[in-house]
């Protein structure tokens, strides 16, 4: 079991003094912030190129909107960085119930419209709760883990956390949004891992996931039970058994691979990128934007983007180690792993090394919800880092003076 300063006393939170706002600002992880800023800029650069010919006679249509979203995301980041994460821990139940309710509401709208719906339309902006759900879900479950920190290595805790976590996973899966459901599951695993769940529990859970995956992908269809939609099933089996895949089902991934490859080292530029401009690349602005970016900017640009992701993930993992308490560490771990999972699956699917699931590429894909939610998550990471540093810094200064 991991220990932290508050493990001995339940009343700690009421007595902990909030660090001064100025000291928080001073102890911001500027390197992480710079990394995130660079990612957003590269993302806008990518959007500018990929969507240049998407709307006739208006090359900056999507770029302008995306800049607006980035600005809104910047505000979200600043707010999240200034809010004391302890607040989330205290109100994790409210966060959980609120998030689950909104996702369930979307699901109900979708059923009423007899189709799949992931959005709530707010007029000027279609709001996709499951994107924000990624962050809120992590905050809520981390809160639960922090509450049960003393019993964190018991089966009781593991099962309760998994049980609670499966509710939003199921809701999102039913939307249907398999990709986001998988992101939630990855984050859930990461949080248990960082919180210190015993290896044995993790091994059993991993085994269960494997059994379910095998059941859904092979045994279920064989027995006539289909949990996944036809297209989801086809995408996944296409990945595991490419030879049995139909031409139509392979089309998307083959076009994506061609698109990535055709960028070569230096890229073809926005004007010469025929795969994007002539529509051969499907979903070029959202799910497959990495391929479009790779075609236009080449290996140099794509490697730069991946390098920036790696940089941000490295700083994120560092935040886990400087976290002030178990809650903060678990939150940071969940955010980082969710980010890693999204990047790997999205980039991997455009290159044929991950199955096709509808996951946007963080900071790059066109879309407000994803960008704002990801920037807010980075804000939470910054807040955790700042407060971790503040407490240690004060400790250090106290020690120095002593």
């Amino acid at each position: 079991m991991l220990e932290y300063a508050g493990s001995q006393r339940a009343g700690l939170r009421n007595e902990r003094e909030a660090p001064h706002l100025l000291s928080v600002v001073r102890s911001i992880d500027w390197i992480l912030l710079a990394g995130v800023g660079a990612l957003v800029l590269v993302g806008l650069w990518g959007v500018a190129g990929v969507t240049k010919f998407a709307v006739p006679n208006d090359p900056t249509y999507y770029l302008n909107r995306q800049i607006l979203y980035a600005a809104a995301g910047g505000v979200a980041l600043v707010v999240a960085a200034l809010v004391d994460p302890d607040l989330y821990r205290r109100y994790w139940r409210a966060i959980f119930i609120g998030t689950a309710t909104v996702i369930a509401f979307v699901l109900l709208i979708g059923h009423a419209a007899r189709g799949s719906t992931r959005w709530i339309s707010l007029g000027f902006f279609t709001f996709q709760p499951s994107e924000f759900g990624k962050l809120l879900f992590v905050l809520a479950l981390a809160g639960m883990l922090a509450e049960r920190q003393r019993a964190v290595s018991t089966w009781d805790t593991t099962l309760r956390v998994v049980g609670l976590g499966l509710l939003p996973v199921t809701l999102v899966f039913a939307q249907p949004d398999l990709g986001t459901a998988l992101v939630y599951m990855a984050a859930l695993g990461a949080m248990l891992f960082v919180a210190g769940a015993p290896w044995k529990h993790l091994a059993v859970l991993g085994g269960l996931v494997l059994v379910v995956a095998v059941g859904v992908l092979w045994a279920g269809p064989a027995a006539g039970v289909s949990v996944l939609k036809g297209y989801q099933q086809q995408r996944l089996t296409c990945f595991t058994h490419p030879s049995t895949c139909s031409v139509a089902a392979r089309y998307n991934v083959e076009q994506a691979i061609t698109t990535v490859g055709s960028g070569e080292i230096r890229g073809r530029g926005p004007n010469g990128a025929t795969q994007v401009n002539l529509g051969f690349l499907p979903e070029s602005q959202t799910d497959f934007i990495f391929a479009g970016f790779a075609e236009q900017r080449g290996f140099i640009g794509a490697a730069l983007l991946l390098g920036l992701y790696l940089f941000v993930l490295w700083r994120g993992l560092r935040v886990v180690t400087v976290a002030r308490d178990l809650f903060s560490a678990v939150v940071a771990g969940g955010i980082v792993v969710a980010l890693l999972f999204q990047i790997f699956v999205n980039v991997g699917m455009t290159m044929g090394i991950a199955p096709i699931t509808g996951i946007p590429l963080p900071f790059v894909s066109v879309g407000g919800s994803s960008l704002i939610a990801n920037l807010a998550a980075m804000g939470v990471l910054l807040a955790i880092h700042a407060r971790g540093r503040v407490s240690r810094g004060r400790r250090a200064s106290l020690s120095a003076r002593g």
Partner: protein, 682 residues
């Protein structure tokens, strides 16, 4: 609790130092810190990140750097498509080569790519409405076509909104191209008919390959989008007219919409010119003559006269000089935007065809009529050949005839009830004596069975009862009734309560056949061929309309010539002379049935009238209608032209058909058409 308090308070240095030492020993009170366990777990996560990114970067390297040129080539190939370039279709010209009957004109088509329409429903509907309004196309029809195309999953071809758009419409759309995503203007060739409704049924029309044609034409290398001849000459000689398609490369997007101009890689070869034996001047004269004949019939009270056909042919080689069929239609309805309304206006579909008396039917080839008296020369030849009569022996021509062996004593009437004299064969032909031929018919009936059915045998020898194999298109065989035919026609399954009696060949069948009535059915072309054989001394010609096929540079293309005229086996030329004499007397003896029309014609013409009774169903009248016939040739000593005219419900042969034929001869021989005194005769 104590430690927390101390951390909050400014403590003396010594105390704080103690606290820190104590914290190092007591982890429980120490602030949250990086335990070895957490460090291990973060290290595991770092390992995951490293492995994941190593995989991504390696794959990226492999795709972009190692195999980049391969994928770049693939992306390049993705967007280039080779398209078929349809060649300009060959011309159809008349026998002079100077009169172009069918040619092409360049038009601009408005095409719509449904995949290019706005994604938002309201915008899509708005664009379709605006487009339909501008192009004056029914928006429902447009929507139907889009849905039909979506149903078959065809995303690579546009929908043709208007195959032929006026310039003003094109300019308007070009100026507003941005408002109509998915719209393209494509130049193409369509058929053009400089002479309007000229030999329309003979020339035929072109159209896209039908699903029924695709299996056979597909094997010959035609593409499903090709426009091919559907009927007439266009269909028969499609292989010459079509040309050789070329190929072009065009840049397309993922949905196959062209994004660049075409670059020709293989030049298309234009279709070859088909020269017909048709004489444009004579054809127009024949068409006018047909209208004149119909009008003449109406003027004499034959109110139901509304259709007919004229065939003008060279009796020596079977080349057809004119082939008119009425009513006719405007062939340009099959070019450009084909709408049901246009087709209905021309009587080409459904009920409109009935109302307009089937304008698309080529009556010269595909309609059958009883020939009536124009068939008598055949009866005469057969009777002479079978020695039933002697050419110059006199046989009674009376007002009525009753077969002596017939126990029912059925009375057969002559068209002229007041005649009572002996006639030789030429006179009987010239005056078209029915009773003379009733007697001959009965003679055929009385022949012993081992003599077979010689009348029918000779009819077949002259080309009746089977298709003439004319190249202008499939023609119908008609019907020569035989004992076997009647036996097959009436059976217990034919729904006729008297089938046991009706199936028997009776004297009346032979007697009716002898004057070209009864079940006998012939086409105008078959009659023309028969009179050609009389004119040319007994040779059966193969009717044809193809003269030659020329390459665009003027050289001739080898074609299979029509079968040479073939002498009819066993035909005695002396008997033919008797018939020729009878036909000459028909036009030159004052008692001849068409003396009034041809008696003073500057060129000696020989011919025969016919008035065939046929049960017709007309609005307000169902009963026997008189089909007006005239067949003949001239000049009699060296025949150059054989003409056959039939006018539906036109009354007597001498009043409707003969004057029409006279006009055709007048044009052919460059003589003025006589002011004709119409006589009332069979």
């Amino acid at each position: 609790m104590a430690s927390t308090t101390t951390r909050r308070l400014p403590l003396p240095p010594s105390r704080r130092a103690r606290e820190d030492e104590a914290g190092a020993e007591q982890t429980a009170v120490e602030p949250y810190r990086l335990t070895p366990k957490l460090a291990r777990r973060v290290a595991v996560l770092s390992g995951l990140v490293v492995i994941g990114f190593a995989a991504l970067l390696l794959r990226l390297w492999a795709l972009q750097v190692l195999a980049g040129s391969h994928y770049a080539a693939q992306a390049q190939a993705n967007q280039v498509r080779t398209v078929r370039v349809e060649p300009p279709r060959g011309q159809i010209v008349d026998r002079t080569g100077h009169n172009v009957l069918v040619t092409n004109k360049l038009v601009t088509a408005i095409e719509l790519w449904p995949s290019g329409l706005p994604k938002i429903y309201a915008q899509r509907v708005a664009e379709l409405r605006a487009l339909a309004h501008i192009t004056r196309v029914n928006v429902r029809q447009l929507t139907r076509e889009i849905l039909a195309q979506r149903a078959v999953g065809d995303m690579l071809d546009p929908i043709v909104v208007r195959p032929q758009a006026p310039t003003a419409m094109l300019t308007y759309l070009q100026e507003r191209a941005a408002a109509f995503p998915g719209l393209t203007l494509t130049r193409s060739y369509v058929r053009s008919y400089p002479h309007g409704d000229f030999a329309t049924q003979l020339l035929g029309y072109v159209g896209p390959i039908t699903p029924q044609e695709l299996p056979t034409l597909g094997k010959e290398g035609f593409a499903p989008t090709d426009v091919v001849g559907q009927t007439g000459i266009e269909a028969t000689y499609n292989k010459y007219l079509f040309g050789v398609p070329g190929a072009a490369r065009v840049r397309v997007d993922a949905l196959g919409r062209p994004r660049s101009a075409r670059t020709l890689t293989t030049q298309p070869q234009p279709g070859q010119t088909v020269r017909l034996t048709i004489d444009a001047g004579l054809q127009i004269a024949a068409q006018n003559a047909l209208q004149y004949g119909i009008q003449s019939a109406r003027n004499t009270g034959e109110w139901a006269a509304d259709g007919g056909a004229i065939v003008a042919m060279s009796p020596q080689d079977g080349s057809i000089l004119a082939l008119a069929s009425s009513p006719t239609y405007d062939p340009s309805v099959y070019t450009g935007h084909i709408t049901t309304r246009k087709l209905e206006a021309q009587g080409l579909v459904g009920k409109s065809a009935l109302d307009k008396n089937y304008p698309s039917l080529d009556r010269a080839l595909d309609a059958t009529y009883p020939p009536g008296s124009t068939f008598k020369p055949l009866t005469a030849i057969a009777a002479l050949q079978e020695h039933l009569i002697k050419p110059y022996a006199l046989y009674p021509c009376t007002g009525t005839y009753v077969a002596p062996e017939d126990h029912s004593h059925h009375v057969f009437h002559n068209w002229d009830p007041n005649v009572n004299q002996g006639m030789d064969l030429p006179t009987a032909l010239a005056q078209s004596c029915d009773t003379y031929f009733y007697r001959v018919g009965n003679g055929f009936y009385q022949l012993p069975t081992d003599r077979g059915q010689p009348l029918q045998k000779w009819a077949r020898a002259f080309g009746f009862g089977k298709a003439s194999a004319v190249d202008a298109g499939p023609d119908v065989p008609g019907l020569v009734p035989t004992i076997g035919y009647k036996h097959r026609r009436f059976s217990r399954h034919s729904g006729d309560p008297n089938w046991r009696i009706d199936r028997i060949w009776k004297p009346g069948d032979s007697i009716n056949l002898a004057i070209g009535q009864g079940d006998l059915l012939v086409t105008p072309l078959q009659m023309t061929r028969f009179y050609a054989a009389i004119a040319n001394g007994g040779k059966l010609v193969t009717p044809h309309v193809l003269m030659n096929v020329e390459n665009p540079n003027g050289t001739l293309v080898p074609t299979t010539p029509p079968a040479a005229p073939r002498p009819i086996p066993g035909l005695n030329p002396a008997y033919l002379k008797v018939v020729q004499q009878g036909l000459f007397e028909g036009t030159h003896d004052p008692l001849g049935t068409s003396y009034g029309v041809f008696g003073n014609f500057p060129i000696p013409i020989a011919g025969k009238t016919g008035t065939a009774q046929k049960v017709v169903s007309l609005p307000g009248f169902t009963g026997e209608g008189d089909q007006s016939w005239w067949c003949g040739y001239g000049p009699v000593n060296a025949p150059k032209l054989v003409v056959c005219v039939v006018i539906e419900n036109g009354g007597h042969g001498g009043t409707a058909a003969a004057p029409a034929a006279e006009r055709v001869f007048a044009h052919f021989f460059h003589v003025p058409s006589a002011q004709q005194g119409l006589i009332h005769s069979d």
